[in-house]
Amino acid sequence: MNRSLTREQTTTIVQGILCLVLFIVLLQVWLLSATTHAWLGGDDSVLWPAAATSAACALVNFALLRCLNRLAV
């Protein structure tokens, strides 16, 4: 499948994946700081939803990494 992609196309896809992964990691950073703040303030209702969301983000990132690894250099 990748054989048909030109080098420019591959680069564009890699850049797209990089942007997505960066966005997701930033989301996780924000999630962690917001959760910690709420938790230290005595609100623990957000802990498990936030943990589930962060885990889902990590899974999406690993899926994107798999896509990246499948692309020919």
Partner: protein, 167 residues
């Protein structure tokens, strides 16, 4: 000419430094994905720590002092629930007693009552808390001081619980 200037060992072990420092987009993406895992693990860790804390149950009640020994306007320090948790007991008037954890909710310095005992003061970054409810009044703290629930048992003041969100 350049080769002649180089030390012999450099010629034997040539290192292309620009190439060595070059981080490809793919490598950077891999690094980011790897960084995303600890974030998720820390979130899970917070959930687990919170679960353990919730299931630890209430700390046992602890006698602080006989009420008669606390003067009106007086301040007493004690530890609760553990020996490492410093707290302050304030007798605001004849009937009103308040107790708070002494650890500032900003970065954990010890708070002390100010001269006229109208508020609790943290000297580290000039944080102020209300003595009535521990609410932050000024300075960097955003969260109230954990409040210690008190009980008068036969004339002796007991600490019976810690309320974290007491504002």
């Amino acid at each position: 000419m350049a080769d002649i200037d180089q030390a012999a060992w450099r010629q034997d072990f040539p290192i292309d430094w620009p190439q060595d420092h070059y981080v490809a987009r793919r490598d950077f993406t891999r690094f980011l994905v790897l960084a995303s895992l600890p974030f998720a693990l820390v979130q899970l860790g917070i959930g687990i720590v919170n679960w353990f804390r919730r299931n630890r149950g209430r700390p046992p009640a602890k006698a602080i002092a006989p009420l008669a020994e606390i003067p009106i306007g007086g301040v007493l320090s004690f530890t609760y629930p553990d020996a490492h948790d410093p707290c302050l007991l304030l007798r605001l008037d004849d009937k009103t007693l308040r107790a708070f954890s002494q650890k500032c909710t900003h970065l954990g310095c010890a708070v002390t009552p100010n001269a006229d005992k109208s508020c609790l003061y943290c000297p580290c970054h000039k944080g102020y808390f209300a003595v009535e409810n521990g609410r932050p009044l000024a300075g960097p703290p955003r969260r109230p001081l954990p409040r210690i629930t008190l009980e008068n048992r036969d004339g002796v003041v007991y600490a019976i619980a810690v309320e974290v969100n007491a504002s």
